[in-house]
Amino acid sequence: MLELLRQPWPWYLAGPLIGLTVPALLLLGNKKFGISSNLKHICASCFPAGVPFFRYDWKKEAWNLWFAGGILLGGALTALLLQTPEPVQVHHKLATELAGYGISDYSSLVPPELFTWEGLFTLRGALLIVLGGFLVGFGTRYAGGCTSGHSIFGLSTLQGPSLIATVCFMIGGIIMANFILPLILTL
């Protein structure tokens, strides 16, 4: 059983369980699933700097920071107890493409050639980590939500604006992965 749980979980098991987060939070205390809001709460609690956008009672939203802390702990527990022993299996076309950029280590969930402290001190690694992270934070707040708040919670509650946001997330990602990322990875 433990061996089976250590394997990557198929979409038809993990997807519905992820979807159950929506009713779980609603029923635990009428809370709306949305993780990027936490980035805003961190700004409001640590560096409000008189910006009106960060002047609100973030303590009322503290539950969400606990939820985010739980995600971090959940990641740690999974790595400790249920780590997949085998390398990540990827589509052969992606493996061929990445090999051309010197990326061939599949022992971790993220490529160590880019996302390690050594990687941070390469030009392409720094761009992906620092600029990529910045765009995630700026874009999600500008859009009013991320994959959880718009794509999962918003679509679950049949919100038109969330469908527009989700389509734009996908367009942005498709443009980056196919047309811009190849240039960054050759740096």
Partner: protein, 136 residues
Amino acid sequence: MKNLKYLLAGIAFGLLLVKSEVVSWFRIQEMFRFQSFHMYGVIGSAVLTGMLAVWLIRKMNIKDLEGRPVSFRKKEFSKGQVYGGLLFGLGWGMTGACPGPLFALVGTGATVIAVMLASAVAGTWVYGRVRDRLPH
């Protein structure tokens, strides 16, 4: 400890993100190149499950643990969903991680992702600072 239940829900969600490999940069690259059904299966089945659950909560008027009715607020359309959505999409294609996976990855021991997370906080802060000058 009224927030403990949210910590536990977060732990379960973090476990799911890692075991489904949603946190993997490789899986996100496959998704944006249409090389694997996995991510579409995860997100699609999550949305269908969420829809069904929300429909049931509304239909049966189910109350939350504290006995309050579950409320929903309508999201308003703004140009931010387009401009911000595209910018987030570009970032997601670079990092392979949306905000949930950022927290989960730090937990798995990919400590450099803490820099990515700090950068995302900085991006949110800059948005808050300049939002009056952006089209909405």
